[in-house]
Symmetry: C2
Subunit: 231 residues, 2 copies
Amino acid sequence: MGKQTGWQSVHDEALRRIQQRIWAPGALIPNEEDLAAELGCARATVNRALRELADAGLLERRRKAGTRVTETPERRARFSIPLIRDEIESRGATATYALIARTIAPMPDAQRHILGLTSPEKSLHVQALHLSNGAPFVYENRWVNLAAVPALEQADLTTISANEWLLRHAPLDRGTFDYAASAADPATAGHLGCAPNTAIMTLERTTHSPTAPITWVRLSYAPGYRLHMDI
Amino acid sequence: MGKQTGWQSVHDEALRRIQQRIWAPGALIPNEEDLAAELGCARATVNRALRELADAGLLERRRKAGTRVTETPERRARFSIPLIRDEIESRGATATYALIARTIAPMPDAQRHILGLTSPEKSLHVQALHLSNGAPFVYENRWVNLAAVPALEQADLTTISANEWLLRHAPLDRGTFDYAASAADPATAGHLGCAPNTAIMTLERTTHSPTAPITWVRLSYAPGYRLHMDI
DNA sequence: CAGTGGTCTAGACCACGGG
DNA sequence: CCGTGGTCTAGACCACTGG
């Protein structure tokens, strides 16, 4: 018999019933106690399995109302944001990094407002290029709120990218990502070694520590970049 | 006292220790039994809390080796793929839909290979436009493997988009997403009402049922589209 | 081998919220 | 009210793997 007890088995069995429409979309499924009895395991085991399916968006659970199969499952991709260096190396290429400019200046209004800073804080402006096998991969244009991470001012950004320094030293908490397609402006095109107005992917990111905004950054990817996700 | 027992509290306390570097990056943290004793709860409760943190990428757990704080936490965004209609309506706009063309034809080689189909299956080619407040929002170019979802041939795609029909009727299982920036070709630009060669975001998606490939689709978003994620 | 996390269990109590 | 999921507990056994 293929009867393995274990929450994974319960998970798989429930998934099978959902996919094969044995439990129809929108329908109520048996409660945990009944399922536990049917499948020969403890209720906690069923709970664990069904909780995973609910996390994945396939089930909707409510006290007293019971558990239903989601009518139109909202697919969720889990998308991990790697270090740029890892992103390059995971494609089998060699990653290098070049600092273009590093200045201390008040943060421009645009970035300030996005980060929710009220006064023009002292900040660090970093421009850098990440290369894959020596070819430009992504151009980084970053403003960092130095009040949130004063130690960054002492960091040697010619050897470690601000990207990595922040990941390693800043207690980040939440943030936003915005991918968009845009035409490369002349300066960016120059850095990336492509023609102006080439269609490129940009990523604008903000990150916040639990207590203060940390950084705004725009990454401009070289033409041909693809953002890949599996479901 | 703020002493709430509960896995959420354990989770928050552990998170605090990570963020405040009480548990340094890369360092070993106490084992579950000790933590349970310290925090006055059962080991299973600690396990639940630490498992969540490990799922979030903040901890790395290995039997016998114990639990470590991740050195460079890989941030993970959870990205939910809405129906196009929901995506439009969630921005407060009115969604409409227009079928441009619907034909039965053998699937082209390019799509066939991507989906892993060996013979040129009978397939449905759908071109459609999704509009937001009457303005083009995204152009959809889709090939569906009719062998996997024969019922689609009878569906009235002038009233319901293939997108929605498939979500509702096809038992999808896994798939891939590829976002890229590209220059609008003349035909696409015509559909979207923008100039040719405008930089636009495209999404190429494949979906598979547990048993067979279902569909390949390219969505071409109107200029200005942003893919937004929160962390 | 032995320490650690992974999981199961049976039972219990609680919180939510539908009817 | 009271059924249902959410969680906690104490104890147990197991699986993996470092030393």
